[in-house]
Subunit: 314 residues, 2 copies
């Protein structure tokens, strides 16, 4: 299995730099006081399409060979990755085919349409999605860009931590959320490559703790119908992301739903920035594990800020 | 009447710089496209206490003579100015007395208490507030720091525009909201002092258009029980702020409630920052006057980000 290295992530960074936002690292004296540690928020909610996903998608598109670019890219996703791949493709004159369940929210359909992608609707099952994507591949030769089980996507996601450590080199801990493990694979590879002494901690909702269970038992435990407000963290690890995470991640902590919601509100109120529940999960594990983080200089990867403001949990 | 000059504002800036945040100027390609002009958001929602008010309050506290500092400061306000004066006073070891109506929301009472101010409650009328403040002054000799009818407060508020024009010198228009006129007095004095060719435009809710009416008729029309979501813009001009605004401001535009709400949501969704309705008013007048702003490089003073997330209008 070909695992990405820090050098692959640095190459990805050079490649995508002209297309992405170098997002800011924010701090809050108020939150430092509340949490008893020094927090550095790497704000991918300010990334294009409102999420880190644009890094990985852009690297995947830019890594295509010329003949592949002509065939286009395809993915099945209704979330941030679909929007990210659509925009990354459009910015590079590559056609994007997005397979979405008919049941996806109008706002997500419109976002993807707005970026000029061709949407194919399917039944809301994984099987239907995969079959529909395969039909598109058979017909067009388009290249599948999986949301996380993809070498180039992982390398792109790792670039956020490269920027974070450029700006704040002396961190002691870096926390990122884990869904399918793409962000955490890139994050942990980058961080351990730059400074092996930095602890890398994964954050998961207690209600979707499949990555923690997989990490503890040594085999992939799939996520089965998890119910959590952190809607970016519902997916299961792949062989690739699990292998990287076992190798690089120091531990995975979980947080309760009420802590996730409380931390989301706290960031909105005190920092005046909009973060999505999946991002609040990283702060929530800090809250639930105060001894571990006490007085530590801790980097938090804030994964995104795409929220339905009409369905807030508070 | 002693009107502030650019030089007074620059002195205020040197004075308060060690205490305030130099807030960022944000841009959004998406919003530029939607509004057909180039927008530069001076983000005072990221200022301490979540509003520009901290600039004026800090300048007022730092401008006290030594014997005045020992007597303390007093104001009657339930909003951002009360929190700003409380924090500015605490940071300078000055006692703050805040007169608040008994009916003020708990969250605001707690914010002011949290900054260590002494709160005196009164009936929710202007007369009760002024009388209560006067009693405190009689008893303690504390110095009244009015939220806007105050030379030093106005100078402090003007420093946001100094920073904005340092970062983006070639603006063609600058828009700020008008409530009591403190922010607009400081803004317009700073902007016209730096570059007389820049248009200075005030933004008001249509439902609280007393400043526009005053501006058009040449005499102060008080704001009488206005009903608007922009709860920072309910107050009336003073002789001082009206005089400055007549002298420096090019025009005052109004916006409808639904436009204010729509623009607030748009900024939250697209820029991932939390702004309060009063701040959304500046964008709302851009939306309602597209011809005036078309292709213009426009600076917007985003006054604050203090919102009750449990009472959102969307």
């Amino acid at each position: 299995m070909n695992l990405p290295s820090l050098s692959d992530i640095r190459s990805a960074h050079s490649r995508i730099k002209p297309f992405i936002h170098q997002t800011p690292v924010l701090t809050s004296q108020q939150l430092n006081k509340i949490f008893g540690c020094e927090l550095f928020f790497k704000c991918e909610n300010f990334q294009k399409v409102g999420a880190f996903k644009f890094r990985g998608a852009t690297n995947a598109v830019l890594s295509l060979k010329d003949d592949e670019k002509q065939r286009g890219v395809v993915t099945h996703s209704s979330g941030n990755h679909a929007a990210a791949l659509s925009l990354a493709a459009r910015m590079n004159d590559v056609k994007a085919f997005i397979v979405m369940p008919e049941t996806a929210p109008e706002v997500k359909k419109n976002a993807v349409k707005g970026y000029g992608a061709e949407i194919t609707f399917c039944k809301p099952t994984l099987q239907a999605r995969e079959e529909t994507a395969q039909k598109i591949i058979d017909r067009t030769g388009a290249i599948l860009v999986h949301p996380y089980d993809n070498f180039n996507v992982i390398c792109g996601q790792g670039t956020a931590s490269v920027e974070l450590l450029n700006m704040v080199p002396d961190l002691e801990i870096i926390v990122a959320p884990i869904g399918g493990g793409g962000l955490m694979s890139g994050t942990s590879t980058a961080v351990k490559g730059i400074n092996n002494n930095i602890s890398v901690i994964g954050a998961e909702p207690l209600n979707a703790s499949d990555a923690r269970e997989s990490f503890k038992t040594g085999r992939i435990i799939p996520s089965v119908n998890p119910v959590t407000i952190a809607d970016g963290l519902l997916t299961s690890l792949s062989e690739l992301t699990f292998t990287i995470i076992r190798k690089n991640v120091d531990d995975i902590f979980t947080a309760r739903e009420e802590t996730i919601i409380e931390c989301m509100l706290l960031v909105w109120e005190r920092m005046k920035i909009v973060i999505e529940p999946s991002s609040a999960t990283v702060l929530a594990i800090v809250k639930e594990n105060p001894e571990f983080f006490r007085n530590k200089r801790t980097g938090l990867i804030i994964s995104g800020g795409n929220v339905d403001f009409r369905k807030l949990p508070f």
